[in-house]
Symmetry: C4
Subunit: 292 residues, 4 copies
């Protein structure tokens, strides 16, 4: 049995990733995939049932809980960013190394694309029967908004940009608060739930202008998928070329949101290094540096 | 008093089950019973009130919370599977012994049948008055969908099968994540709540095609009950003999879902056995190894 | 200062109740008062706004959360029963001494009556303007259902009685599960939240027949208040003298619910007294016995 | 590098507030700002979409969760009052020093004003297009109720005042209960969530009369902003000069609510100082005193 056990072990070990970065990349791929299938799926159910089996409550709660599930599935491995704007802010404020950023972001865009394709498959019959086989971007039979966000008719591009900046600012400001153990302190293991509640409130309050994407991967990858899958490249030009706003706006908003939280709250916390000054004689406490 | 106390004790002990398997079988019976009465009950209230006292929000939340309650009632005894697809996946991935499977599954099917009968009793007057004493399967006065799931008109059998596979894949993938203590880690005792949130999001996003059964016992037993109780055996033939899809699809999906989670996340966790080997020279630090 | 401090202390001490039973009685009064104002208030808002500012979701969630709040306000003092059926079951299964029962039940009935009167005051203008100054029991301008429950038109008395028995059976069965620390185990301090979720699911699934009172004090005291406040004593005769069913049914159901949980789950837990006896030869490992 | 590091440190230190009161003032400003943007934003989304993307559920949940987020962002620094009535009650019952009150209240009023202005900016295009460029206070195209509360048509001033007193009484009574560790005890770090549930139930049950402000800063500052921003000073005279009721009523209600909780529950808790004195002769049993 000993040799067989060893062979079995080596088989498993061939599958095991040794590189931490490879694990994290795979994890971000899975997390973004989960968020898109379940999150955009909530929109799909509301749209395709013409409101009979879904509405603002189920889409807001559904998208928020899809993020909760994605973070529970990946948070212990890669932190559960599932959002290039979050990863960018983490790098900007020294919570992640910059060299990891392209891997995280690439995995997020890829996961979102595969998620959109999976959702398209699950609802293939529904999408085909909804508008007599047509895949439309505007009008009452439109289905493109299942995958990507589109602006309200009243919205100017300036207001749209401000909207994405401010919404993502609130997202990051409060994500920083939720993980700030020197503030009130969300109990360990419940941070994903509180982030879910955060997404519920943001999408209930700042979702009307343009659907509250706050995430370049969540918006651009499914939009690209719809362009290729039959809705056509008008998904990019619709709404005065709106497509770049949920890509660029969140990056700006994430930087501002992190900065606001750091400047108003975090920087003023009593410094544990200064108060803990004497312990320079016991340097073995390095294992306490488990930040998250 | 001493002899009487002894007699009392032996009376109680005659009722106490010594066999762990017997306890677990009884527990799975109770759990599935609870889920069906309260879960299908949520659908009953929405259908029988023609939407006045229930809708997509109350049925999604009601079914999810019925699962939460079933797990709190049985989780400490039998793990609270209440789903043959879950028990199957637990066996497949070495989390339960195979010989227990028929007992678990049998109890689940029986509990679901008794639950359906109980619900029929509670809403007997309501069911009788709803369609002038008729028990219908299709049309606006249909009530069979209170008990079992039926496909949307647009749905092909292929898409229906894929739907049940993918939905149950997400269910198991995330159940594995929720109980994976080396990932982010749901706090002990709150796993049922997070599973409830998971069911809310899946039924909000993947429920439109065919009601998102994801559970052979939840679907087949109540369907059999309706066949016997007056709806007739058309409950099996309706929807191109749809009945077998929520039975077989979940088993396939559960296997895939577990596999995806294990291959993408679980297998790559740092192996505590390998890392715990060397520190035999500093054994006092063992209590610091509680990382999360 | 010393004498003044002493005088102050004795003033405070004159207010402090020394008797534990007096504290508990006062606590149950407050808890039931909170539940009625906020719980029946949720119904009032839905009825008086004719559905514009409330509906099945807000009444179910509102009533459930009113119970959550009542338990947080009183649970540490009196256990937060706020329901004679719960207190009765607690006595029946040895969790409370029988001599306390009349005090608990009296406080609950009184608290519910004062709560109904308070709610009447808060919504006095709304009630007066709703039906041109009339306080009605039936019809589309009825407001009596804000305070007490009434049966659906289709419901026979037999079915109504079974409904209250079964609903309260589920309530107690799951309350016993939630507080059973040898089962899965709700984290300390979160039991009220899980009870709130339980009430959401029961009122979503078993609320259609007759409003799911499950509590003699919650139903009878506000009904008596409405009889005296202007709705008239038809509140007792309406629905074939329905009034006694939410009084007697819950007592029967509570006894059955507790019994079912004890017989199917609790009695079979491994007995810690019996198992803890032998390990006297290896006492150092005791701290490892935290199983779950 | 040493000098540069020092310079950097001193740069950071120049930004760091040394005064605890300054930190707390800034924190209350931020918290109230968050609550108004996200809370009033939930109302904005419901109003501006004419109910298509919001309603009573999203506004109640959105406002409640905006409070949850505000408390998570500020609770560890300033306690997360974000409400002059709460700060007033904290002073009144010896939980905060009186000299801090004007700083807290000033920050709250200012934060609410800036929050209202920010929300106005985010929804500028929506507000402009909603009523053809007009900013109205009454009628079906009114938008002033996004920012401040207005009474129901049926409501007398006496009832309105009683409404704000009683609603805030319940708010403070239960906030005191939630933070009373000698009662049932909300787990550390979850108090904001339970406060969110409390706000959901109060706004579901006592919100119909006049929108349930319960907070002078939440109501008066946004009202002043609308007066200046184009709605005109009729925002103060509308509803028989209703504006002062959500300012004065909450202060009265907060005092009563705190008093009720203290008199009925808190004062009767066993005094740990008195009970902890004698047990010096039996110190081994101390670890058994964890009662609940």
């Amino acid at each position: 049995m000993q040799p067989e056990k060893r062979r079995k072990k080596s088989l498993k070990q061939r599958l095991v990733l040794k590189s931490s970065l490879a694990k994290e990349t795979l994890s971000e791929f899975l997390g973004t995939f989960i968020m898109i299938v379940l999150g955009c799926g909530s929109v799909a159910q509301a749209v395709l049932s013409r409101g009979h089996f879904g509405g603002i409550v189920t889409t807001n709660v559904g998208f928020a809980m899809s993020v909760v599930m994605a973070i529970y599935a990946t948070g212990g491995v890669s932190g559960g960013h599932i959002n290039p704007a979050v990863s960018f802010a983490m790098c900007l404020f020294g919570r992640m190394k910059w060299f990891k950023l392209p891997f995280y972001v690439g995995a997020q865009f890829l996961g979102a694309f595969v998620g959109a394709a999976t959702l398209f498959g699950i609802y293939y019959d529904g999408l085909m029967s909804f508008a007599g086989g047509k895949l439309l971007i505007v009008g009452e039979n439109a289905t493109a908004q299942i995958f990507a966000t589109y602006p309200s008719p009243y919205l100017s591009l300036e207001n749209a940009f401000a909207d994405q900046v401010v919404a993502t600012m609130f997202l990051l400001m409060l994500v920083f608060a939720i993980f700030d153990s020197r503030n009130l302190g969300v109990p360990k293991g419940l941070e994903p739930i509180v982030i879910g509640l955060l997404i519920i409130v943001i999408s209930s309050s700042l979702g009307l202008n343009s659907g509250c994407a706050m995430n370049p991967a969540r918006d651009l990858s499914p939009r690209l998928f719809t362009a290729l899958a039959g809705w056509g490249f008008e998904v990019f030009t619709t709404g005065k070329n709106f497509w770049w706003i949920p890509v660029v706006g969140p990056l700006v908003g994430a930087a501002i949101g992190g900065l606001v939280y750091v400047l108003i709250i975090e920087i003023h916390h009593p410094d544990p290094d200064l108060e803990a000054e004497p312990p320079e004689d016991k340097p073995e406490k390095c294992e306490l540096s488990v930040i998250m």
